[in-house]
Symmetry: D2
Subunit: 427 residues, 4 copies
């Protein structure tokens, strides 16, 4: 469907090219504070090594963009399809996920060379006039967004690794001082409900799971203006939240007992209080900051304890579409920040702090169809057993947030920047 | 809230009393073909022993109806609250679920005596004029419906037990001959969609999870007139269904490989064909009968293979509400039956054959609130990680089916009578 | 020892026949206090149901004696070889051990009929003159001894079952009163060591693992005159025995932490003291009685704490051979008894109380060869990873004890009547 | 052996000092072919990362020699006792063994600095005249031997890591060509048995588990002149060795089925034959080379198949003491070598090829006492559940082999260089 209507226009846009190489460079920037040792180890079955992330996103471009569209492309290493295919059954057998941390070879140096090899080829591809521009544009966009997702995972996986280390290393310099200011007071915005438009439409990138755009019926609801804070979470804990079975879903209560949960992930007692391991190292829990590293089970129990509930993903999207406020940015500080009372009324902290658990199971939208080919395995096959999170987190790369975005994790998972915002019925 | 408007009318209705003791007797009838040995053993962690079912439903009446409402009621045995409480955290500690099969004591004779003791007390309760009639009526209704649910579980748990036995015993006499007739031809009914009323309203019993009745927006859809058959499932198998990862949700494909699935549960190869263990013993797979004992993962993969999808629970309910057809009855034959072409157009086999997996996760309806007290643990706390099934099965007791009924199981579970019906978009 | 000196003498001895049917009857006597429900359930993977024991020992006679030696013998049920073969690979596939408790069919009544069928056939076999008398005698002897072993297991497996039951049922009537007498004072007998004869020789029955009789070199040693008591074990516990890693073998310390051990099996705290579940129900721990239900790890840790060690199996055998004292008998009381100071000097409580852990791994004697055929799987294939216990227990049938007997269990196992006696070097 | 006869003689011997720093250097030499990435990863729960080995042996010297004996010694890093204590309960809590591979910090550079810091301090310690020379000598000897043990583990753990890598990297350059020569023909040496002296006595280093030297009674036996070869193992495989339950100990047969064993560890089918991953990479199985990476279960099954048995550790020691032959050396080639027929009669390949499984459980010698203090945890607490191996392997450092040496592993373990030599009774 590419149509060369004039001279140089069959080339993909320079804006896309710029974003591509900015994204590619950003991954390297994220790896910069890490040693080769830090980059090879896998913290848990859920996490992957930094080196693996760096190679896998590169393999993704090689496999989806270069192989089909750059005629003279030379595969960097035939073994890499086995090593760095994540879960694409269509693309052949692959190294078992829980053993990604055993891949001391290829070395990190070779992976960096792989990145360069692929970047060079991408440059060549994007300079060509004789390609299927629309398709290549689509694939490059997917590749950029894919790499951005792995940038967030890279950070949360490094946090998991460093939290397992008795030295509790910091990935990033510590904040100057503990922010002791109060959070924005909690208040509620009412929404009238009705038939609303859900899902992505119009311009800009979206994943297939945000499609098709469709109507949904939403009851009137109200939504908290800010995220649940650590102070509120401590009140839940002090009120016996983790010891009161009637607050919990049955599977959640099993998890509490099986795993011995008594606080969010990475919290530990110290000097009569609590600290939490973070990308800035082990720091005292800051009361006004949004709580993070809580599972769906915990978020749901907290909401029940508070006499409220979690919003559905549709409610969240309605609220996000209602505000003209610019996306809040994390500005490079890799921890969720206190909400700022000066920002006025309406829901805040929608983006850039923590992903927000919703009451919605991760399921296909009506009429959803995965894309053809291996790329169709990207999102659709995970549509069971997980819950949707909305918004974005302090670890989400700039430009990767939007109101229709659907993130998803299993209800027991906690190692991402996962928090919550309360909702309630309108009486 | 009971108001005595006339002489004997403060007593609960005789119709309710009759249903109560019919239900109580039916449990004994179901246990009748079983020896004391059959009744004590637990086939798996999911299943419970017959004796435990018989005692637990009795404990339910004792605890929820007799203790609070029959002043002079004498607890039969103080240990039974520990032994026969299933999962009510509010009611104290209980015997671990996977160890229910270790309870050789109390003996089955003592459990029968327990049933009689409670039945006698229930009779005394229902004969009284000085009770809170509405509340007692509510509790007896819940107790009846609770016991009916366990009657179905009793049968599926016995099937699980007998299927683990190398002698492959039959619970029920075998059908006279293999039914070789063809099933009703597959055709589709279109539904226009729109805003529909979902959930229970008006007269009759419902569980709290069918409430509140509320509006939902449904897109146009079409629904198969009958259940998927064994013949269709065999075609899926012969086409490599269990060996084709792209047909499966990722968690489903994991289950296939981890569990070694290559057919529905209880199927085994014999004489070049397939047989399936059933309550009538091990019998050849009957091609026209509805497939049963398939997981959500399998149902979803089959639908994808067929180029269709599973209906949502709302679609299913819309279709069920559209038909004036009487509920089909299983008439005591404890296996799903072939659909009968003579029954005319429109969706058939909605009830009484197999529960039908839907695409809907089991979640609360908008505005759902669990009832107060321990009974509030009945349904609400299971609203995560499971999928809704609609209809009813050949093992569901008579009078326990309705269009708004929501059954739910985990996507990997197969030991119930679980099957499927296809749906599709309207082009 | 076959002597064909005249007419009827080729028949097996009447003494053997009498012992056979006494043994067969004793199994039924042991099952007498149990209901059909008690007999079908399997308490743990290590344990077997009573019904299975009763059938398996019968299958043993059917398979090893009747099939090869009684020409017209009719197999009772072709399925039973699958159901009741324990671990004889030579004899075909078998029902998985951890699922023996699922065998509600064949019913216990059918198993009793099986026993009668086999007993009748055994009577016919033993009445014949035309058999290979020596071989039949050998097989009947093995069958008797095999059934005796299972009689002990039947009791310990029932104890495991009843200990898992919240009602804590008693298999046997309780003792009249708590024996508060003091145990025999602890003293030591010295043995000079030297080259000693180990293993079975001469008359009487032995298992193949007691053969061949051979010379061994034993250093001088001394041995305690009695078993370690509960009072001594309590002193170990109160001294932090279960919390002091340096007392334990590394694998033992892992077991302590993994399993949460803080006392022998079946002990539970009650009223400020300790009780222990027993075949007489839950009773206060009697200080003078031998400690029982301890693992090798615990026995070894206790000995280290006491500044002593466990005897080797050779030392134990030397001591047992040194005493002319009659075997002590348990006289039907199924719990280990206090030692009686009046019995004079020298090692006591060698037999009839608790099996005594030795420091010896269970390995073949020099020149050991298992018997030919399936019977060769009886003992030899278990000669790795286990430790030898010597003596016998309160649950060992009369006539089944001797100085050369080698019992064996894994070092973590505790559900048998397992205790210890201390040994030490001679300074 | 302390002799304060004059001026400088209270210093430890220069020979010891030389050996110490040769040993320390050898560890660095072994790490030389590895990247920082290779050194940080843990291949399995049994294995440890190279970096951890390098740090742990250093911590051993710091903790056992420097802290108690070098007054002004400055601990390098207080966290290291937690990080690098292996299993000494006496020395406080430690990082969990299965998580050693998460220790990306301290970095390998810091670990090398740690080694230098400790080496410098050791040099200062050894230069002093005012120390308890005998005790320091003892501790340095232990430290040297300890580091040598870890040198072997370092190699086998790297092999485990590289064998898990789809690139199958080689640690060491490959041999020039496949050695196709025939092995030495198998023959047998007879030994008369009798009372023999077992265990270490006289000069030179030994571990505490080789003590005390004591008499043992050994029956006449014969021993194979060489190790079992790959060709012989292939014959076992081709004869259905891995599919014949009667050849196996019961626990071994379980392992075969549970683990899916059908060949030694690291064998894989290729081009119609077999290859084995080795420190030289993936190479065709060389028929004349000793079989390696077999478990005790496999060794025992092979011996039974061959109509022979494994020697006891005493028999092996008798044979080793009988030969005046010099220790065979592996000369740096890290794979077991073909035996050389030119070497004459008598047992060969006793040392330097593969450790040889014996029929003996790993148990204390009569009168064994572990040394006082934390060092007492070195060997004694592992004396349960394992089997003794004798000899040494191609990965054992030079100077670390002797006739009385007792190595030990669990019967299922295979990742070390473990093989076997046959024994038999004398008829
Ligand atoms: Fe990816
Ligand atoms: Fe229930
Ligand atoms: Fe047996
Ligand atoms: Fe060490």
């Amino acid at each position: 469907s590419s149509q060369a209507d004039g001279g140089a226009s069959v080339r993909v846009s320079e804006a896309l090219e710029a974003r591509l190489f900015e994204t590619r460079q950003h991954s390297l920037d994220l790896a910069e504070p890490l040693s080769a040792e830090d980059m090879v180890v896998q913290a848990s079955d859920d996490a992957s090594p930094t080196k693996w992330h760096l190679a896998h996103v590169t393999w993704f471009f090689e496999n989806f963009a270069l192989r089909p569209h750059l005629a003279d492309y030379r595969i960097f290493d035939d073994n890499f399809n086995y090593c760095f295919n994540s879960y694409y059954e269509t693309l052949g057998p692959r190294h078992p996920r829980p053993k990604r941390g055993l891949l001391t070879r290829p070395t990190s140096e070779k992976v960096f060379a792989y990145r360069k090899h692929v970047d060079d080829a991408l440059r060549r591809l994007l300079a060509r006039n004789d390609i299927d521009r629309d398709e290549v544009t689509r694939l490059i966009e997917i590749g950029i967004n894919h790499e951005q997702q792995h940038q967030e995972l890279l950070l949360t996986d490094i946090l998991a690794l460093f939290a397992s280390n008795p030295l509790r290393p910091a990935y990033q310099g510590q904040p100057v001082g503990l922010d002791t200011a109060e959070p924005t007071p909690l208040n509620w915005t009412e929404f009238p409900g009705g038939i609303v438009r859900i899902g992505h439409s119009g311009e800009g990138y979206s994943w297939d799971n945000e499609l098709p755009s469709h109507d949904a019926l939403v009851q009137p609801f109200k939504l908290a203006n800010r995220l649940v804070t650590n102070a509120e979470w401590l009140a839940f804990m002090e009120d016996g939240g983790y010891a009161t079975p009637t607050l919990w879903l049955a599977d959640g209560w099993s998890a509490v007992n099986r795993e011995g949960w008594e606080s969010p992930l990475y919290w530990e007692r110290s000097d009569g209080g609590w600290s939490q391991m973070s990308l800035q190292g082990l720091l005292p829990v800051a009361h006004a900051e949004p709580v993070t590293h809580v599972s769906y089970y915990e978020a749901d129990a907290f909401a029940r304890w508070a006499g409220k509930r979690l919003p559905t993903e549709f409610e969240w999207e309605v609220a996000a579409n209602s505000t003209s406020k610019q996306m809040e940015k994390s500005q490079g500080v890799l921890r969720p920040q206190r909400s700022d009372a000066s920002q006025g009324a309406g829901p805040k902290q929608l983006f850039g702090q923590v992903w927000q658990w919703t009451a919605s199971a991760y399921l296909p939208y009506p009429g959803y169809r995965p894309p053809a080919g291996a790329i169709g395995e990207y999102n659709g096959k995970f549509m069971v057993g997980q819950h949707v999170l909305r918004g974005s987190s302090c670890a989400t790369p700039s430009g990767h947030s939007r109101a229709t975005y659907r993130n998803f994790f299993y209800p027991h998972q906690r190692w991402q920047f996962l928090g919550l915002r309360l909702a309630a019925e309108v009486e």
